[in-house]
């Protein structure tokens, strides 16, 4: 990529070539991102149900979201709980396993592969189906509990208090790709750091908190941002496993947005919901970037 120097002279030939190579992507960007974004901003200020002509109603949709929509609040609660349970748990677990695998043992490659498989298939409907049967009535968990003599009246998916936990567990189960990222970051920590810590008589816990963890903070930071963005878009799980229920206890933000758009055909309103989600994600990203000076250690 061109360096942002003050006075860059571009050759005409290079300009043509650059845009020629980029043109298919630019076409897709316009068709699937830029134009939709503009249309979506416009619709978010209208009343539109796909059949009528959109009529401008100013900020009404946004006002309705923040003042009159209890379901919005509920979906926000669910999504926040999901993100703030899942992301720390998944990253902690990924780091823990990566540390365990960062040793000299035989067969590490096999374990790494095994742990990575759920990340690969996790987004598929098949896995959501498995999860539904696992934790549902007559499911695996119920039958295992029965084996140990625990009689449960309600399955974990039928209970509004635990249904979301089941979906979080499914997310934690897919810790493999974060684990791989941590593993490659761990391998890049210079051995000399550990050796000097040994000479100074550092205890394992001290080595972890003073060397390993600080050296990993750029990786953690990067992971944190992407996982949070990813977490906010949870849909398939709550759609397939619980359909938002019971009692809206797993109604994720995107599922609510989807229902507003394609069950109630409240297109303008759902576009407004979409932009509120973008704003929320942007706020989190900005906050994380602002705090990074306090805890992220970059070399040099």
């Amino acid at each position: 990529m061109a360096k942002p120097s003050k006075k860059q002279h571009y050759k005409l030939k290079d300009n043509i070539a650059g845009y020629l190579f980029l043109s298919p992507w630019i076409f897709g960007f316009l068709l699937m991102w830029l134009v939709p974004a503009i249309i979506s901003i416009y619709y978010s200020f209208t009343d539109f149900n796909l059949l009528n002509t959109p009529s401008m109603i100013g900020f009404s949709n946004y006002i309705r979201i923040f003042t009159q929509d209890d379901t919005f609040i509920q979906s926000l609660k669910v999504t926040f709980s999901y993100v703030f349970l899942l992301v720390p748990l998944r990253l902690a677990f990924a780091l823990f396993v990566a540390m365990l695998l960062n040793q000299n043992h035989k067969g590490l490659g096999l374990y790494r592969t095994l742990y990575y498989v759920p990340s690969i298939i996790g987004g598929s409907i098949a896995v959501s189906i498995v999860w539904k049967q696992f934790f549902g009535n007559k499911g695996v968990v119920m039958s295992l509990l029965g084996l140990f003599g625990v009689q449960q009246k309600m399955s974990f998916l039928g209970n509004p208090k635990t249904a979301l936990i089941v979906i979080v567990i499914m997310g934690v189960w897919q810790f493999g790709s974060s684990m791989l990222i941590f593993l490659s970051a761990l391998k890049q920590i210079p051995n000399s750091l550990y050796e000097s810590a040994m000479v100074d008589g550092g205890k394992p816990w001290q080595v972890f908190t003073r060397i390993t963890l600080p050296m990993l903070t750029p990786t953690i930071f990067f992971n944190l941002i992407l996982q949070i963005i990813n977490g906010f878009r949870v849909f398939t799980e709550s759609y397939v496993i619980t359909d938002g229920g019971p009692l809206d206890s797993t109604l994720s933000y995107v599922l609510y947005l989807y229902r507003r758009a394609f069950t109630y055909f409240d297109m303008g309103y759902s576009c407004a919901l979409a932009w509120v989600l973008v704003a929320i994600i942007a706020v989190f990203t900005v906050i994380l970037f602002k705090t990074q000076n306090n805890w992220v250690h970059y070399e040099n």
């Binding site: 409907i125 490659s184 758009a261």
Partner: protein, 281 residues
């Protein structure tokens, strides 16, 4: 000293195997359940050994499909969409990554910023206007609508290849230029062979994501005959139209088979790609 290390190793392997078992237990259970007969399915549901084997009925009934459409139809649609989508996605991302790393042109920083921005904005946010645009173009409920969101490349793939291109010395380009290669010649004759690992990694990820995509097909498609496997499985799940768990599990297994097979053959590329890119969540 030596025995202490051996004990440590034994404990490590026991723990690692136990975790590995937990990790793949859901998959083993799915395969086992697809062999269980429907009426014994939920007796000792945790068991991995079927009491009454009935794989034949399950797979046969699953393959018959749902809503008068055979599973083979869903399978063919999914393969078609995935192959075309993957080829387009990887090829167009390759062109973009080449332009961003090897050509100095006006606005390249801004456009690269746009690429990164598409990574931050969840695609679900755009789905309503995308739906409306595709409807205006008369593409809703066609297979084209399933391909379009992927075909024109994506931030993840561009970023992956940009990272890869940056690691390749520019002298390679210059030497080729002296030999009389044009820009396209440099890319396809000189660089593509070098970035082949990145292309393979990108292709597999694209394959996975398109194969398993659910959200966009759910919104863009309405005719059962044109459904992908993901949508079809969702229909099998609907208790009003289907009440055959054996068939459901059998088809779930089949839907995962290509993914697992690719994984076994290409896991080296995936593991390296993730380590390099650090992205996939």
């Amino acid at each position: 000293m030596k025995t202490k290390r051996e004990i440590h190793a034994v404990i490590f392997h026991i723990g690692a195997c136990a975790l590995g078992f937990i990790m793949i237990y859901p998959m083993l259970w799915l395969v086992a359940s697809s062999f269980k007969s429907n009426d014994t399915m939920f007796q000792d549901a945790y068991s991995l050994i079927p009491k009454v084997w009935d794989a034949g009925t399950n797979y046969r009934s699953g393959l018959e499909g749902v809503g008068n459409v055979s599973f083979a139809t869903f399978f063919v649609t999914t393969v078609l969409v995935t192959v075309v989508g993957t080829v387009g996605c990887v090829f167009i991302s390759l062109l973009a990554a080449y332009a961003f790393t090897r050509i100095k042109f006006w606005g390249s920083n801004f456009l690269f910023g746009c690429v990164m921005m598409t990574m931050m904005i969840p695609p679900q946010v755009m789905v309503v206007p995308q739906y409306i645009i595709l409807k205006k173009l008369g593409l809703i409920d066609t297979r084209v609508a399933l391909i379009i969101p992927w075909f024109f490349g994506g931030a993840f793939f561009i970023f992956l290849m940009v990272q890869f291109f940056r690691g390749i010395p520019k002298e390679l380009d210059e030497a080729a230029m002296i030999d009389g290669c044009g820009k396209a010649g440099i890319l396809f004759r000189v660089l593509v062979p070098v970035v082949k690992p990145a292309l393979v990694t990108a292709s597999i990820f694209a394959f996975y994501w398109i194969w398993q995509d659910f959200f966009q097909p759910l919104i863009f498609m309405s005719t059962t005959k044109k459904f992908t496997i993901s949508l079809a499985l969702n229909m099998y799940l609907d208790p009003n139209s289907y009440n055959n768990y054996g068939g459901l599990f059998a088809m779930s297994v089949i839907s995962l088979l290509p993914v697992i097979i690719f994984f076994i053959f290409f896991q080296k590329y995936l593991v390296n790609g993730i380590a390099m890119d650090g992205i996939k969540g």
